[in-house]
Symmetry: C2
Subunit: 319 residues, 2 copies
């Protein structure tokens, strides 16, 4: 058995989660610091390094940590930089040499960095639903839609480190919804938590169909989920539509890399009972006959509170 340990850090817009992980994927100790109270990267890195040292002590593994894996928005695996991450207070237009800064603050401990969805893919491959798979596509259904593509056991980074932006393939060509990225009709404008809310607002306005959603001032995807569970027919149709858009996009992804499975993770993936049937139907209807009913759609098996740390930590095993 491997007697070394790794640290996983999930850098989010509001908080950063830090944990120490063993080779089996058990999180031995963890903590959280704020990300959004720092305007400059220097003080943030300094507090982050303190927090990392603290969890290492708590886990009782001083001197046995092999490296640190970091999942962060716009993280570039090749360069170890976080580039133009507008959702990070110290990000903005900058190219932040994150791995280098953190490694220096940690006395030279090696640091690997990638974006959050790629980290999730590595996590699923090492500890989760994709164990034993060499070819799969990870799709994270959160506020946006992220993706991590694994081919022959390796994450695809592309020529510049930014491959795998499947949330921004065009899902709807005609009159597609405007996306934060500046394009129109991107998959994530329909198939994310935000996308589900947008569909709800749009459809409530367009029709007179009665729905429990009508009474709400603000509609989150969780509200649509609860409505669907209570049998609300409009809410059920919203999930049918969302699942169909996802499924037909999956069909195109399969034509690209012929994965064994599509692995789903994230808040919206909790609506599995409503999303899976229309997703599977649309995927199989839109895929080449040779792949029909052959590619699995599986859901992450990682405990949600641990998943982000586990994903990031898994990167560090390769250091």
């Amino acid at each position: 058995m491997d007697s070394t340990f790794v640290v996983g850090i999930d850098v989010g817009g509001q908080t950063s989660k830090i944990g120490v992980v063993d080779a089996e994927g058990t999180v031995l100790a963890q903590t959280v610091i704020r990300t959004d109270t720092y305007k400059d990267i220097g003080p943030y890195i300094s507090e982050l390094a303190d927090a990392v040292n603290q969890v290492i002590r708590e886990a009782g593994v001083e001197g046995k940590v092999r490296g640190i894996g970091v999942g962060a928005p716009n993280g570039n695996y090749y360069t170890g930089t976080i580039e133009k991450a507008v959702n990070l207070t110290w990000g903005g237009d900058a190219v932040v040499p994150f791995s280098k800064l953190l490694s220096e603050a940690m006395g030279g401990l090696p640091v690997a960095l990638t974006n959050d969805a790629n980290a999730a893919a590595v996590g699923e491959m090492k500890y989760g639903a994709a164990r034993g798979m060499k070819n799969f596509i990870m799709i994270t259904l959160g506020t946006g839609v992220g993706s991590g593509i694994v081919i022959n056991g390796d994450v695809v980074y592309g020529h510049d480190g930014f491959a795998g932006e499947l949330g921004h393939v065009t899902a709807v060509r005609e009159n597609g919804r405007p996306c934060n990225c500046g394009k129109k009709g991107c998959l994530e404008t329909y198939a994310s938590a935000t996308g589900v809310s947008r569909t709800a607002y749009e459809w409530l306005e367009k029709s007179d169909e009665p729905s429990v959603l009508r009474g709400l001032e603000k509609i989150a995807s969780k509200d649509v989920y609860d409505a669907a569970r209570s049998g609300d027919s409009l809410a059920l149709k919203i999930f049918d539509f969302t699942g169909e858009i996802l499924g037909r996009s999956f069909a195109d992804f399969i034509a690209f890399s012929s994965p064994e499975a599509i692995v789903l993770f994230g808040g919206l993936a909790r609506a599995k009972e409503f999303l899976l049937p229309p997703m599977e139907n649309a995927m199989n209807e839109n895929v080449l006959p040779l792949w029909r009913n052959k590619v699995k759609i599986v859901f992450s098996q990682l405990k949600e509170s641990d998943a982000a740390i586990l994903g990031a930590s898994a990167l560090a095993w390769e250091l």
Copy 2:
């Protein structure tokens, strides 16, 4: 310098081209046999082996051939089989153990096999427009649309050997044209030589716009090209439309693997002057800002008569 040689074989529906190639990509000798006069694979393999031995003798490289590379429709790199190739007289519903049969007929010489578009990608990487590139996507624009995807210097075969069917991503969702594969709206129903003809027939029927194409009983993509060169406005619009459909699909491909370039090859790629401007515009309009104006569209530099042999032969260097 490498003093060994390889044999490349391009298996087409009508003919099979065979050539001996050196490490610089010079075709030293070549020949052609019929494919479509054989109902059974046995006699075909036997004549093929005779032809291979003959070109090896002609090139004067007996005993110096390292292996044979084969590009064939529905060729599976992992298994060396040709599976359900309906366009081959000895294909049909069968799974033909092509590599094994040819290797036996050649006294044990190793044989590598893949589909034609993957072979073209390897050829461009070894001898052509993609020399020095580790991440690119090859698109072949012929009767259909084929593709070969290269990531980190390796062709992507997927979990089953069939990855890279980008001719069958859905380019048009609403009222898409029926495709031979059974689906609707596939890229190849619009952006192949056949697709260009279909657009011409459709548009001539739908409008009264004068065009030199109106006089023709049968319209091939070459006729549309000639008309465009003569300034025919309908023909020019057909290429605008075709280029736009290609370009916006390329944008989605880029989101997947972030290639350095898209490399085009095939009969329709000769219409570069008309296809390139709308293709580049649509690609850059539909891609994430981070890749805008950064991904090159390049055209094959291989002599067309040699390209199929070169592509197939390049596979054999890895044997």
